[in-house]
């Protein structure tokens, strides 16, 4: 099993959820983070003063998938969220040793 962790633009969450729905990927979880990378943020105006916002809100999506589904999932994400402009985000793949469904106690790929 692998954990596919994607950091994406907030406005891409809805399209990505739709893509997953079509591809029948059901389990995932999502949280809000602040990220900084190559993207520079935007200029805000505070009672006249200009201020640079350097940490931008991003969404982190985590999906645990069976080993053989990793590439498909990665591709699906890239296809859905890529805009080609700085700030598109990153995908990280990490090992997961075990997965347990709390409700039933099932383990391994069955539990996904």
């Amino acid at each position: 099993m692998k954990l596919v962790e994607a950091i994406i633009r907030p406005e891409k969450l809805e399209p990505l959820k739709d893509s997953f729905l079509k591809a029948d990927i059901k389990g995932m979880n999502v949280r809000q983070i602040l990220g900084c990378g190559n993207q520079h943020g935007w200029i805000a105006h505070n009672r006249g003063s200009s201020v640079m916002m350097n940490m931008l809100p991003k969404i982190e999506i985590k999906i645990v998938v069976a080993d053989d589904k990793v590439e498909d999932t990665v591709k699906l994400i890239i296809d859905t969220v890529r805009t080609g402009e700085i700030g598109d985000g990153k995908i990280f793949v990490k090992p997961v040793e075990e997965c347990i469904r709390i409700r039933t106690g099932e383990r391994g790929d069955d539990a996904l």
């Binding site: 633009r9 907030p10 406005e11 891409k12 809805e14 809000q32 602040l34 935007w42 200029i43 805000a44 105006h45 916002m53 940490m55 805009t83």
Partner: protein, 417 residues
């Protein structure tokens, strides 16, 4: 002769009605997604500045100045810059308070009306376009409507139709305009699929509470005097809003076995709208009926009709204000009593006289048509000369950042230390 009691009453009512506009901004903002909260507040708040300055410069004059050309449609410019409108002399509309105070009381109504309209356009309109739209709408819709209904020699008043606190001028004009404008503007992306995203219900409640309280001043103050009529209007307003809240809760209970805060408060608001035109004309029992019936009507429009015709009246300016306002002027035609307020020349249909009812229907037709046509013209012209919608990317990102470079809660996460 000035009466300090009346001055005190109308002055304080003006303040409380003024409070309604920011209140509306918060009410609206609570209902939108977090990424559009700033844009929503801004779209409402800027009207406080714009409408006031316009009112002083020429708006009051176009609305309440001497009739221009005798058509009863708009005033002339002789009161521009409050020329002839004084804090020390009574105006043409009432004797016991200064003309300038009357002008201020009318101003606070003029501020809140376009602010209602913008609710229909929430979440996708460019702010620059909205600014131009509101300016044009005040000149082409609000001032004429106010003149026709309340101005000297006004067309609608001439029909014998009555409007105590703004059924035609405020509720119907804003609701119908919202509907027309939102259709021309187009729906938000993903409209229908993903519609439930209020970001802050307590904020919505704060705004709703301010609106509710302000409305007592809105209807009560429309008597322009601290007298029996003001009391009649306040009592009616209380009864109608309460009845509408309860009947909305009843609908929800029957349909879903649950009541919601958004539902209950919406019920109260449509109840307030519905009693606005008749507050100073109908007896108490009628208020109970008017309020009790408005919720099912609006509920039907907010759910079935809106879905069926798929217009994106984002924050329900039409569904809440337009529809309830229409019901309110009809109900005034049904239940008004000359004994309560001799400004109405005839009793309502329910009491056996058809004349007032007929006048109300005629006035309603004029108000709906006039607002719809004028708003359509403004929007279509605007669409020709400037970009009125943000791009789909900007819409997805949220109008707060794209239009204002400002967020609602920048350091709220606790991360941004």
């Amino acid at each position: 002769m000035f009466n300090p009691g009346d001055i005190a009453f109308v002055a304080i009512c003006s303040m409380l009605v003024f409070f309604m506009t920011p209140g509306l901004g918060l009410f609206y903002a609570g209902m939108v997604r977090r990424k559009n909260a700033i844009n929503t507040i801004m779209s409402v708040m800027f009207v406080c500045g714009l409408a006031t300055v316009m009112w002083f410069v020429f708006g009051y004059s176009l609305s309440f100045g001497p009739d221009a050309g005798g058509f009863g449609v708009v005033g002339n410019l002789s009161n521009a810059f409050f020329h002839g409108v004084s804090a020390s002399e009574a105006g043409p509309y009432t004797d016991t308070i200064p003309g300038a105070l009357y002008a201020v009381f009318q101003l606070v109504f003029c501020i809140v009306t376009p602010a209602i309209v913008v609710g229909s356009l929430s979440g996708r309109m460019k702010f620059s376009a909205l600014f131009v739209f509101v300016t044009a709408w005040l000149v082409l819709v609000y001032y004429p409507m106010a003149h026709m209904v309340w101005g000297q020699g006004g067309l609608i008043a001439g029909l014998g139709a009555v409007d105590f606190a703004g059924g035609y001028v405020i509720e119907i004009s804003s609701g119908i305009s919202g509907l027309v404008a939102c259709i021309i503007l187009g729906t938000r992306k993903g409209y229908g699929i993903q519609s439930y995203h209020p970001h802050n219900i307590p904020l919505f409640v704060i705004g709703g509470a301010i609106l509710w309280v302000g409305w007592f001043a809105f209807n009560g103050g429309s008597a322009l005097s601290a007298n029996e009529l003001a009391v009649q209007a306040i009592v009616n307003t209380m009864i109608a809003s309460a009845a509408a809240m309860l009947s909305w809760m009843l609908i929800e209970t029957v349909l879903y076995q649950k009541v919601t805060v958004m539902g209950a408060v919406t019920g109260a608001i449509v109840g307030l709208v519905s009693i606005t035109p008749g507050a100073g004309f109908v007896p108490f029992e009628a208020a109970l009926f008017i309020g009790g019936v408005v919720s099912p009507i609006c509920f039907f429009f907010l759910t079935k009709v809106k879905e069926k015709f798929a217009y994106d009246d984002a924050l329900d300016a039409f569904g809440c204000h337009g529809i309830s306002g229409i019901w309110g002027v009809i109900a005034t035609g049904l239940f008004a009593q000359t004994a309560i307020n001799p400004v109405a020349h005839w009793d309502g249909l329910f009491f056996g006289d058809t004349r007032l009812f007929a006048a109300q229907m005629m006035a309603l037709a004029i108000a709906v048509l006039y607002s719809a046509v004028m708003t359509a013209i403004i929007m279509l012209l605007l669409k020709k000369v400037m970009t009125i919608r943000v791009s789909p990317e900007e819409e997805a990102l949220g109008l707060d950042i794209s239009e204002h470079s400002e967020e609602g809660y920048p350091a709220f996460s606790g991360i941004d230390q």
